[in-house]
């Protein structure tokens, strides 16, 4: 009787739960072909398991109900049967094969990263995501935008939470609908994992290595996910928001971003000449500090020692201004202190440094301007907004090597190798590595690779026009001169023990690219 009342109580309270109907109980079907296949697989296995469960537990409950001693059951004496054992070894094997076949099919599709339309590099760091669009020069960080007072100290704070509490970010990752989007996923510090359930994509971000994943979404909308690998203190606070737009919407967004980039570059230049008042610096500094620094160093500036030191009264925040600026700009290698040079504008860095030097009784009185930051970090600062200029820089460097191009000129192998190495070290090394061993699978090895050992014309073609299968291999035809391409192809065919002996002259590149 007591038990029955208890059951009624539990059932009653479950149904009284107002949001019961809205709660998701099952895996999401998602918005891609793959995610629906994954969902179907999940349902298949679940039905099979339920079926097995009904049969096995059914037999068990039958014994419990009817073979009890209290009902006068006498124990039988059988305890062995090879036939039965073989039977219940064989049947599960058949069932398993039936499950393995569709699983294998889906898995092979999931792992096919070829022929993508858009490539985005996803770089995780504690506790934010950085997205970089290949060939577009667009890159930005994406961080949690839920205000801290909605989740911190909830015994005292009782802020109202929004619908997307902990699943909202300041800048969405925007991708086009019905296009194959490839993600190259890596990390700057610890291991994270990029997971969007609606795409059935979950891929670890490993520091020093690049993983691939892809998706092709067939419905515009906003899809939310989270970091799925324990990555330290704020692991629970680094969500992912992907906005899938129509093709026109995506093109429009790209234009907007380019405009924004131009404006930001202008503002950056302007900030170098502007002198900002202490009050303004402190206000901007505080907002920047709360958004970017407070997770570790805490709003109180007391940090969480020993991993995250206090700034209040610290040697860095009260010592040399330049030292302080470079620490914020470049970070400290091998610790949780990231470099903010790429994440913040010069003005923001100036403001946050000012704030840290004057808040919490640090009272150094220093007001740091954007120009001071530029001076302290020197040339490095000019690269802040220079990502779009990267390619032109490459050609500038290369142009110094060969000022004018004479396509009929015959070079010796040594000359080509020397020039080729220089070109390689500027234009190719980032992906294919100095050792020629690449970073597979996204960036294949050239050492002993089929392309550099195969047909010369194919090799030249892929350098000039890029790869159709692998979009991260961009076309260098417009970035390098024909002489440079001849040199780098020669270099690749002979370095690292490739030793094909091939010497490619500019005329050959000219002939090949004319086709």
């Amino acid at each position: 009787m007591i038990r029955r009342n208890l059951c009624l109580l539990i059932l009653g309270s479950l149904f009284s739960c107002s949001v019961w109907a809205e709660m998701q109980l099952n895996l999401t079907k998602g918005v891609t072909e793959i995610s629906r296949e994954v969902y179907d697989l999940h349902m298949l296995v679940m039905y099979i398991c339920t079926g097995i469960g009904v049969v096995v537990f059914g037999a068990m409950f039958w014994s419990i109900a009817f073979h009890r001693k209290s009902k006068g059951a006498k124990a039988a004496s059988f305890h062995e049967s090879t036939k039965v054992e073989i039977l219940w070894t064989a049947i599960p094997i058949v069932i398993l094969i039936a499950m393995a076949i569709p699983a294998t099919k889906t898995l092979i599709e999931m792992e096919n990263n070829d022929d993508s339309d858009v490539t985005i590099q996803v770089t995780a760091s504690q506790w934010k995501w950085h997205y970089k669009y290949f060939d577009q020069g667009i890159e930005f960080y994406s961080v949690l935008s839920t205000p801290r007072d909605q989740y911190e100290n909830q015994l005292e704070n009782h802020a109202d939470r929004g619908e997307n509490y902990l699943l909202e970010v300041d800048r969405h990752l925007v991708i086009p609908v019905n296009k194959k989007v490839r993600f190259l996923i890596t990390s700057d510090d610890v291991i994270h994992a990029w997971w969007v359930p609606a795409f059935a994509v979950k891929q670890d971000a490993n520091p020093g290595f690049i993983n691939e994943a892809w998706t092709k979404v067939d419905k515009p909308g906003i899809y939310r996910g989270q970091c799925a690998e324990l990555c330290g203190k704020d692991h629970g606070f680094m969500p992912i928001v992907v906005e899938v737009r129509t093709e026109e919407g995506y093109a429009q967004w790209l234009d907007e971003q380019h405009e924004l980039l131009a404006k930001a570059a202008e503002a950056e230049k302007a900030s170098l000449n502007a002198s900002v008042s202490m009050d303004e610096l402190m206000t901007l500094g505080e907002t920047t500090y709360v958004a970017y620094c407070a997770a570790c160093h805490q709003v109180s500036g007391l940090g969480l020692p020993p991993a995250f030191p206090a700034l209040k009264g610290s040697a860095i925040a009260t010592g040399s201004v330049d030292g302080h600026i470079t620490t914020v700009f470049n970070g400290i290698a091998g610790t949780g202190m990231q470099g903010y040079g790429k994440q913040l504008s010069l003005k923001q860095i100036a403001a946050v440094v000012t704030y840290e030097r004057n808040a919490w009784g640090n009272n150094t009185g220093d007001a740091v301007q954007a120009a001071d930051v530029q001076a302290a970090v020197g040339a490095a600062a000019s690269s802040v907004q220079a990502t779009t200029d990267e390619e032109s820089q490459v050609s500038e460097v290369a142009k110094e090597v060969i000022p004018a191009e004479d396509l009929s000129k015959e070079y010796t192998k040594d000359e080509l190798m020397k020039m080729g190495e220089q070109v390689y070290m500027t234009a190719c090394v980032a992906c294919h590595q100095a050792s020629g061993s690449g970073l597979p699978p996204a960036f294949p090895a050239l050492k002993g690779g089929p392309i550099v050992l195969g047909d010369v014309a194919v090799h030249i073609d892929i350098v000039v026009n890029g790869s159709k299968k692998n979009p991260s291999m961009v076309a260098f035809g417009s970035q390098l001169t024909k002489t440079q391409i001849a040199a780098v192809v020669t270099y690749e065919r002979n370095a690292w023990g490739n030793d094909t002996g091939d010497v490619v002259q500019p005329a050959a590149v000219d002939a090949a690219s004319a086709k």
Binding site: E37, V38, H67, A100, T104, L107, E163, L230
Partner: protein, 534 residues
């Protein structure tokens, strides 16, 4: 079980044996003991204390997750709680409990006077409290306790650790040494001290499962020792095993760790199979169905456990071939595991069942462990694992196999042999309360976690999005209820030690085995002359 009780019961029942042994009194008896029953008792008490400690940590976790927002702990401390909870439950509660069973029961089941290496036996227990002392002491240090998860993935545990890595590594080293010594002792005992006539295929299945488990331990504990040492040198001595900047690979950490970690999973479940395979026949009054196939199934599970480790790592970016290989091998494990479940059901089929508490826990084990097995099969499917991986679905899965699996089998075994250990019957009514409270609360605790995982809640997060709020509330209520229910067990055991109905040498009419041929409670020394087995 306490000193005084064994001593007094002993003099009541077995004064003859008492003359021969020079038991010390008080603390010294326990510090210096080389008696397998004393050491078994120490192991069992230690593991129960660790269960309550780890459980207390889990209840703080559940209190924080009771509703959205951060109420009682900071995210960093939350990570320390989950890490230490995992380490304590795996290395402090489940594994020592099984070693306790091995110490108490193996010699009596094979007709041996004691374990083969009694002095090592003493040492393998007594270093354990130090290991956990080191681990728990880190809570009180400036750096805090380990906060990188019980799986201590590099570089979170190396370059980015909070300074607790050294304590963690040395604690794990000591636990590992203890386990290896315990395992060597089990293997040597079983190989050398069986009573004349007890061939391998006549050994109780309980003995077989511990035999195989001990081999697994000897094989993989050194791997664990290796990987924690690499973590230590990466953190403090500038090596780069797991640091790409120095030519290392963080994913290699996971390969080495899970090469230990997956057999470890079976180290925690095979002995449970042994216990349940002893209890189900006893209360079905029917011999275990398919004894030989059970032995082969256990061995195949053990062998397969060495070639499935990377199914914990499907999202790390493995090549397709690797993913397929590990998916197929993992699915294959379902076959021998299925054979075991079918054999248990066939043992009950047309038996003459009664439902004493050990049997209740065993039946619950079979059903709930199988549910954990089903979710394991789902997790084995690589494409779907991408969705389940690192969510509460995984948390639900391994708690079903470890709590309603391993822990329930430990309770089943404890109730089954308590009369033999103490000489008294336990309170039947209280033990049934313990069972039903545990059964209901454990399902309220872990079943909704499946839904949370499927709906997309990642594991190891201190706060969550609003759509997960209702289930988390239920889970937390289940957690508190399950935690408190375990105190009933403490009461049952203390009452049973202090008195109660006298237990016969063989209190269960269907029980079989040499342990029931000695008096209850078991005399301090048993089988000084080996029994004859035909």
């Amino acid at each position: 079980m306490t000193t005084e009780n064994i001593a007094t019961e002993q003099s009541d029942h077995d004064s003859h044996d008492e003359h021969h042994d020079h038991k010390m009194t008080g603390v010294k008896r326990w510090l210096y003991t080389t008696n397998h029953k004393d050491i078994g008792t120490l192991y069992l008490w230690f593991s129960f204390i660790m269960l309550l400690t780890g459980g207390a940590l889990a209840m703080v976790i559940r209190a924080e997750l009771f509703q959205p927002g951060l109420q009682i702990v900071e995210p960093d401390f939350f990570n320390q709680l989950t890490t230490v909870h995992g380490l304590i439950m795996v290395f402090g509660a489940i594994m020592p409990a099984f070693t306790g069973f091995a110490n108490w029961m193996l010699p009596m089941m094979i007709g041996a006077p004691d374990m083969a290496l009694p002095r090592m036996n003493n040492w393998s227990f007594w270093i354990l409290p130090f290991a956990f002392g080191i681990l728990l002491s880190s809570f009180f240090m400036e750096s805090g306790a380990p906060n990188f998860g019980w799986t201590f993935y590099a570089p979170l545990s190396t370059t980015f650790s909070n300074g607790s890595t050294a304590f963690f590594v040395f604690a794990v080293h000591i636990m590992g040494i203890s386990s290896i010594m315990g395992a060597i002792n089990i293997v040597v005992t079983i190989m050398n001290l069986r009573a004349p006539g007890m061939t391998y295929m006549k050994m109780p299945l309980f003995v077989w499962t511990f035999f195989i488990t001990a081999y697994l331990l000897i094989a993989v504990m050194p791997v664990l020792a290796g990987v924690v040492t690499m973590v230590l040198t990466d953190t403090y001595f500038g090596t780069s095993f797991f640091d790409a900047a120095g030519g290392g690979d963080p994913v290699m950490f996971q390969h080495i760790f899970w090469f230990f970690g997956h057999p470890e999973v079976y180290i925690m479940i095979l002995p449970a199979f042994g216990i349940v395979s002893t209890i189900i026949p006893a209360f079905s009054r029917k011999k275990l169905f398919g004894y030989a196939s059970m032995v082969y199934a256990t061995s195949s599970i053990a062998l397969l456990s060495f070639i499935v480790w990377a199914h914990h790592m499907f999202t790390t970016g493995m090549p397709l071939f690797g993913e397929l290989f590990f998916m197929y091998c993992t699915m294959l494990i379902a076959v021998p595991t299925g054979v075991k479940v079918f054999n248990w059901v066939a043992t009950m089929w047309r038996g003459s069942l009664t439902f004493e508490t050990p049997m209740l826990f065993s039946i619950a084990f079979v059903i709930l462990f199988t549910i954990g097995g089903f979710s394991g099969l789902m997790l084995a499917m690589t494409p779907v694992d991408f969705q389940y991986h690192d969510t509460y679905f995984v948390v639900a899965h391994f708690h079903y196999v470890l709590v309603t699996g391993s822990l329930f089998s430990i309770y089943a075994g404890a109730y089954y042999w308590l009369p033999k250990w103490t000489g008294h019957m336990y309170s039947d009514a209280l033990s049934k309360w313990h069972f039903w409270c545990s059964l209901i609360s454990v399902n309220l605790l872990f079943f909704p976690m499946h839904f949370l995982g499927l709906a997309g809640m990642p594991r190891r997060i201190p706060d969550y999005a609003l759509q997960f709020a209702d289930f988390n509330k239920w889970v937390s209520i289940g957690g508190f209820a399950f935690g408190l229910s375990q105190l009933i067990f403490l009461v049952v055991v203390i009452k049973c030690i202090r008195g109660g109905e006298k237990a016969a040498a063989k209190p269960w009419d269907g029980a079989e085995g040499l342990e029931w041929e000695v008096a209850s409670p078991a005399p301090y020394h048993t089988f000084s002359t080996p029994p004859k087995i035909d």
